[in-house]
Every structure is written in C-alpha cells, then in structure tokens.
C-alpha cells in the first residue's frame, strides 16, 4: 500500500512537472519572438552597436579582436596538448560557408 501510494504521488508530481515544462516552452517561444520583434526593427538594427571605447573600457589592457561572421560560422578551438615537447600555443580556427568573416583589431594603439 505504501509503495502504491508513493507511486500515485510521484505520478501526480510528474503531471504537474509536465504542465510546468509546457508553460516554459511557451514562455521561451514568447521571449524569442519578442527579441525577434525588437531586433528586426530597422531603426533598432541601426542603433545596435557598441563603440571601440565601450569595449576597451571593459577589457582593459588587452589586445582585442572583434569578429563578425555570418550565422552558422564555425569557431573551433583545438584542445592543446600538454607535456614536455609540446609548444605552448593556443589556436582558433574560423570557417564560414556563407560569406566572408570580418576580423578587426580593436585597440590599435
């Protein structure tokens, strides 16, 4: 009896969780649609920029590369080998199948 009571209890919880998950899926769609509405507005698209100063202010003292690439462009970072005899290098590969990639050195000074 104890286990069967527990069984019903868990089943009720699962039903409630299923309802919650459905609601979350709906909310996610709403947010994505809301973002799309905002970003699709031509004026908003034009005003969606940051200045070099903005970026330099928050990455003080670093060399900064800004990369703009078509949707779907792959950025790949091989996991460096460790151990004697392996050079200390880190790599980034960029590959686009739908147009050029723009890379800008932000803080030329």
């Amino acid at each position: 009896t104890e286990i069967s009571d527990k069984l019903y209890g868990i089943q009720d919880e699962l039903d409630e969780l299923a309802r919650q998950e459905e609601l979350l899926d709906q909310h996610k769609n709403w947010v994505q649609q809301s973002i799309k509405n905002v970003t699709d507005e031509a004026e908003n698209t034009r005003l969606a920029y940051v200045t070099h100063e903005d970026i330099c202010r928050h990455f003080k003292g670093d060399t900064l590369l800004a990369i703009q690439a078509p949707t779907g462009t792959h950025l790949e970072v091989p996991i460096p080998e460790i151990g004697p005899g392996f050079k200390k290098t880190y790599q980034i590969n960029l590959k686009s199948n739908s147009g050029p990639i723009n890379v800008l050195l932000v803080n030329k000074d």
Partner: protein, 145 residues
C-alpha cells in the same frame, strides 16, 4: 517498487530539464533587456552628440577575443576571408556581444541580482507582462546563485 524507481528517475530528469529551460529563458530575457537598453543609449547619444565617428563602432552581432598585450598572434587568412587560423602563444578568452553588454551594465546588473528599484522597473517595462516573474526571479539573484 521498480516502477517507483523509474518514475523517480523520470522526475529528476524533468526537474533538470525545467531548471535548464528556466535558465535559457532568463538568459534570453537578459539579452532582450540589454539590447533594448543599448539601442536607447545610442539613440540618446546620437541625439546629443550625433552618430559615432566612422570606424569607431562595431555593429552587433560580434564576438570578442581578448588576450594579453604581450601575446604574439599569428594569423593566416584564406583568399576570400571565409577561413582564418589564429595561433596565440598565450591564453585568450572569447566573449559574445551579450557578455560585453552585461559588462557595460546594459542589463542593469540583473544577471548579478544587483539592480536598484528604479532599474528593476525599467527591466519589467522591457519584457512582456507574462514574463515579469522571470525578471523578479533574476532580481532576487537566481542567476548569480
């Protein structure tokens, strides 16, 4: 008893999925608030100072690679610029534009649960009413925790 165990596992899986989806929604809401705030800020700047000087601004979306000034970067580019190979002799970090907006404070510190009442009001006004509970959750520091 076996079925009980199976249902318990299913319950854990669902709870995990719900947690993940809630975080996704909160991340998307932060994106929307930060984007709207950036647009508003630039609108104000252009109204008072005019548009930014040529080549002094970067249009969204973009990502930033930052590395120490001492790092030597070797870069190979394919002819039609659709493939790049960078070799760094030191570590680097990569951040997307939303991370930069957060650092600029464009999400009012909501991602850290540190925004004032006035800023919270602005955040609530930036999202559809049905999504306000997520903003209030964020303001209570749910993402920071």
């Amino acid at each position: 008893a076996q079925e009980c165990q199976n249902l318990e596992l299913e319950k854990q899986r669902r709870l995990e999925r719900i947690k993940h989806k809630t975080q996704q929604i909160q991340e998307l809401i932060l994106q929307q608030i930060a984007f709207k705030n950036l647009v508003q800020r630039n609108k104000e700047l252009e109204r008072t100072q005019g548009p930014p000087a040529p080549n002094s601004a970067i249009q969204l979306p973009y990502i930033i690679v930052n590395t120490s000034k001492k790092t030597v970067i070797d870069c190979s580019i394919s002819k039609d610029k659709d493939e790049y190979l960078f070799n760094f002799n030191n570590t680097f970090e990569i951040h997307d534009d939303i991370e930069v907006l957060k650092r600029m404070g464009m999400a009012y510190g909501l991602e850290k649960g540190q925004c004032t009442k006035h800023e919270l009001a602005k955040c609530l006004a930036s999202v559809p009413k049905a999504l306000e509970p997520y903003v209030l959750d964020l303001a209570r520091g749910s993402m920071a925790n």
